[in-house]
Symmetry: C2
């Protein structure tokens, strides 16, 4: 780690914001390799995102060797470190002073809604002050809730994790008679990841509860009760962000994060206790939590490649003079799946949450339509294994 | 599914008992393919273990095709279905009547302690009654708690899951400053799986809590507190079976299973709440639960092969006239790792729990010795990836 950059050089800085994904390091590798290809000599990473900028903590990535780059993209989470700091107005001025002091002329911030807001504020302030810098957001979130992009790097891998896990859980549940399992899935406000379990869904043996549908405990118990009568095995996939109609989380940890967002949790346990009490059934809960965003084995090949390309595209776009934009993914065709990139205005992405579309939720409220499957299927890359059912 | 076998033939029956593993279907494939190689024409699987025998529910596996056999061994959990029925004395007589009525002359029961007890009782009663049948136990348990065998098929894969998960979690925890995660690991009474996290352990950034060490909440809080002062990231790996010195589970669901065993659970949440209350730190919990015993991607190649061979060895042993034995794994050498098989008396295995050896727990009580690493390392097969640390 170093505390200052060589200010005689034109410096490129990259930083990570928010929760990591299993492919965020692939985007970093894309930035580094594309910068090298284009003759950028001086490249740094901020330690723990914006926190590292404010504290002058940087990694010098200018001469990182090929083997380390390969290892980087196969390392879970963020090799730079990330943060959840909500900027106050003063922070933006301090960050700009740091950029000026270190002659940072290219800044890439790889994150979600909140990070794009940070990015937007830095870009706007730099323009106001007349400091010549290219500021580009690279999208990243397992939640897939960023606006103006077909999907986000990180989502495909996390979706694959949920789909494979739901399928494996279904096999386990089928193995022991009268056995219910509740899988708690990440996604504070958006049900994209919970919905991805439907890729593994066979007929009616899985119920999905998305945060976009106001949670009704009576309906939930009735959903289960009607299954139990049929004696079928059952997997319930529940978003950690489930809320009652009044907006209260059903699994509220009482914790508030750095952005002032309530941290939900324990949804599966709340549901399991209710099923045990009202229906006296045997229920288990599984909450892979962070494992769902760090699994290297279950990454999507499409996601790895798109994350890398998003980083590389960001570098080319900035070197061509672009600034104040986020790189967005554009779907060119579904079958065969083909994607492209474009640059969209940061202010249109900042703090906007793209929730799961209501038209992709089926009439039962516990399933999704084929249109969603068509959307999500290419993003998880490889085929999901077919399992033997005797 | 069928309800009776062709009693004019000599029939072979295989059944699964207890919780599944990701390689129990590999043992089944080993039984089926070895039986076919040796000219066995008539082979059945009981649906839901002993429950299927009592209810006359069988799958005819005699003519299963090669593609289905390949698919079988790559299917999570048990394709036959399993059960947790504790035999009463009358059950054994009924089972024997079913075997006689169906001309079952070979019975393979693939399970853990309780299943070996079942197997033992059936073998002894058959001998008493003079019914000529070969009864063989095939070991299976992710918990690795069976006596007289170096290790159990199923353990290597579940151990790899825990080691990889702990390593990935450590990367995530390093990514965000002051961040603690508690990973809850399966294993009711034995800490083998919890200990396997040590494969991913780097220096002092992981604390392991095994059920073999009486849990002391004050020491636990002090363990964490001393880490927090150092400001290090921290992964806590806790067995679901942790107990206080008085034998009470710290995470007691209040549920009792079919064998009269208390079902523990929620250990990570109990610990997290305590840390939040006493140390006001940010803590997350991850409880992959059943996902840890059903992951196909994280199976150990050594485990897949040994599970298969254990099934095949059981068939050869029974066809040679052996009965009333469990197939045990024998370690022939550590490096390079080599194993063999032998047949051990069922009564010496039935209901015995092999707990984690106290000499493999280090003096802190929260770590394991190099001897354990030497023992466990070959069982997980592949090398665990090295991750990039900047």
């Amino acid at each position: 780690m170093i505390n200052k950059m060589d200010k005689r050089k034109v410096n490129l800085l990259v930083a990570h914001g928010g929760g990591p994904t299993p492919v965020i390091n692939s985007s970093l590798r894309g930035v580094i390799e594309e910068a090298a290809l284009n003759g950028v000599k001086s490249l740094y990473g901020a330690r723990f995102g914006i926190e590292g900028v404010l504290a002058d903590e940087y990694y010098d990535l200018s001469d990182i060797d090929a083997q380390s780059l390969k290892c980087m993209s196969d390392t879970p989470a963020s090799v730079l470190g990330s943060c959840r700091r909500k900027l106050c107005s003063n922070d933006v001025d301090v960050i700009l002073e740091k950029f000026i002091a270190n002659n940072v002329r290219y800044f890439f911030y790889n994150g979600g809604n909140d990070s794009m807001d940070t990015c937007n504020k830095i870009a706007k302030r730099a323009a106001q002050k007349g400091y010549d810098i290219r500021v580009i957001g690279i999208p990243k979130t397992i939640d897939n809730d960023l606006a103006l992009t077909d999907h986000c790097p990180g989502f495909g891998s996390a979706a694959k994790y949920v789909a494979v896990s739901a399928g494996e859980l279904m096999c386990d549940v089928r193995s022991l008679p009268i056995h219910i399992s509740i899988l708690e899935v990440m996604g504070r406000n958006a049900g994209w990841l919970t919905a991805a379990a439907a890729i593994a869904r066979s007929s009616s043996d899985m119920l999905l509860y998305l945060p976009e549908v106001a949670f009704d405990m009576d309906k939930f118990i009735e959903d289960i009760n009607s299954r139990y009568i049929k004696g079928e095995p059952l997997v319930i996939v529940a978003s950690e962000g489930l809320k009652y109609a009044d907006g209260k989380f059903i699994g509220d940890t009482g914790i508030v994060d750095g952005f002032g967002h309530t941290v939900p949790g324990g949804v599966a346990d709340v549901l399991a206790q209710r099923i045990r009490r009202e229906l006296t059934l045997k229920v288990r809960t599984e909450k892979p939590g962070l494992l769902g965003r760090s699994s290297i084995a279950l990454r999507s090949s499409v996601d790895i490649s798109e994350a890398y390309e998003a980083g590389a595209y960001a570098v080319r776009y900035a070197l061509d003079g672009g600034t104040d934009r986020m790189i967005a993914l554009v779907r060119l065709s579904d079958s065969p799946y083909k994607n492209g990139f474009e640059a969209v205005p940061l202010e249109k992405v900042a703090e906007v949450e793209k929730r799961f579309p209501s038209e992709w939720i089926d009439s039962s409220g516990t399933g999704v339509t084929d249109d969603f499957i068509k959307y999500v299927r290419p993003l998880i890359g490889e085929t999901i294994d077919e399992y033997l059912v005797l």
